[in-house]
């Protein structure tokens, strides 16, 4: 509708959406164009890139390009998974606290501040360290999601409580709308644009956090992710031996994802925020 048209006029928005779609396109449709094989060895370890294998092989001799595509898929998957959980939990608590007010608001606020101060990173280490068996992608996603919801709750709560005082809520209440109808029809639509922007940041945090944990060996078990690629590059001293293809492409991909998400967020901010604050 009108908003989308305004957005499409913004060069930064078009650029960031394009970049993001490119990465998603690469991740989802990559296998159709390039045979993905992350098990069989196609050459000697750390073979230099050649015509056939554009980015050479990793420390076990597996083709790097297929590793990257598979890694991209799982990193995006974890990021999305964590983003959805964090945003959903955060929005629900935020709207509930902002809208209900009173002691419930203070309680949720206290819990949020508490988790905000205790760093996500520490919680992740402790949980992952104790789960020795299969740390699947979903599990990692859940762990990240459950430790980054605090930021969403805090910002959504601020928006929801500022909305509560507006007259259209009073009018809706006088129309006989119950709490649920009020939240769904009169609070959420105003927050939707804001929640979507928060979701984008959460996905970016999820992707970056997954890479961080994998770097210290607590990443997903027996699957490939960008973090795992970087970790194996570090553990096998790929840097000292000048094997750039072991870590540079993974870093570039990681940065592209996070960068496109951040630019998307800032480009939407110029369109959405003034309207929301009106």
């Amino acid at each position: 509708m009108k908003l989308l048209v305004n957005l499409l006029k913004l060069p930064t928005f078009v650029f960031s959406v394009g970049l993001l779609l490119l990465t998603i396109f690469l991740a989802l449709l990559g296998p159709f164009f390039y045979p993905i094989d992350v098990i069989s060895k196609v050459g000697p370890p750390y073979m230099a890139p050649n015509a056939e294998h554009l980015l050479g092989t990793d420390n076990l001799g597996v083709d790097m390009v297929s590793l990257l595509i598979a890694g991209l898929r799982s990193s995006l998957y974890v990021g999305l998974f964590a983003g959805i959980i964090a945003t959903a939990v955060g929005t629900f608590l935020g709207v509930y606290a902002g809208f209900k007010g009173g002691w419930i608001d203070d309680l949720i606020n206290m819990v949020t501040n508490l988790f905000l101060v205790i760093p996500t990173f520490v919680v992740l280490i402790l949980i992952s360290a104790s789960l020795t068996e299969g740390r699947s992608l979903e599990l990692i996603g859940i762990i990240i999601g459950c430790t980054t919801w605090t930021w969403t709750t805090r910002s959504v709560r601020a928006q929801a409580s500022s909305l509560k005082a507006r007259d259209h809520i009073a009018l809706a209440r006088v129309n006989g709308a119950g709490t649920l109808k009020l939240a769904m029809l009169h609070i959420l639509p105003y927050l939707l644009s804001y929640v979507f922007m928060v979701f984008i940041i959460q996905v970016a945090t999820g992707v970056a956090m997954e890479a961080t944990i994998s770097m210290i060996g607590l990443g997903p078990f027996d699957t490939v992710s960008l973090g795992i690629i970087l970790e194996s590059a570090m553990n096998n001293d790929a840097l000292n031996d000048g094997i750039w293809w072991a870590f540079i492409p993974a870093t570039v991909l990681l940065t592209v994802i996070v960068f496109s998400l951040y630019t998307l967020n800032t480009s939407m901010e110029t369109v959405f925020n003034p309207r929301l604050r009106k």
Partner: protein, 261 residues
Amino acid sequence: MQHKTNIFAAAGITRIFGHGKKSVKAIDAVSFTIEDEEIVSIVGGSGCGKSVLAKMMLGLIKPTAGEFLYSGREIKNLREHWREVQPVFQDPFSCFNQFFTIRSQLESSFCIFKQKPSRREVKERVDGALLAVNIKPNEIEGKYPFELSGGQMQRMLLARIFALRPKVLIADEPTSMVDACVRANILEYLMKLKQELKMTIIFITHDIGLAYYVSDRIFIMHKGQIVEQGSPDTVAFRPQSGHTLQLLEDIPDIHKEWIKR
């Protein structure tokens, strides 16, 4: 003259906000009665407690002391109360949800009734209400709130009252955010509501000129107390309380001397 039933009856009601040293007495031992089918204006400067009184009549806040009755009994069930008492707010721009069309919001107002009338009857009543505030229904067809001007939005709020036909209307400063030339329209509609639909109207304003023109009785409020009650002529020309006199003098009237230069 058939005996008028008391719509609102307040006996010594007080409302205090905050507690201890920081407490503020918004309403201070106020008593009044409001009968059926009359327009009562509550006039006072900012912070005199008139909006608090309006919220109390709507049942949104309870008095901390004294007894406040709506047609003889305490306000208990808000949904039932709102079937008979409806508000019009001050700021037309923030009154409507920007994500739904005007018509759908007007029609959803009927959810307040126990059984919502049939779709056809709702549509008829809304169209009738729009004509009552001289807006042609097709003018706002499929339109969203941000596509209308302030004056039109204020009329939408009144159209909602024409459609719902409550017994009592609480109009909290409906004219303060609107330009002078549209202000008179709003007052006309209030009088129309009273004459045609036998509605009781509480008109809250800080402009005694408007109150004088539109109301049957005027309450003057100052710092949480009703300092004067009476017909427009007695309040405007034979005021007893010093505060009313002060209020009348402070209004820049074109015929009278305002400030000695």
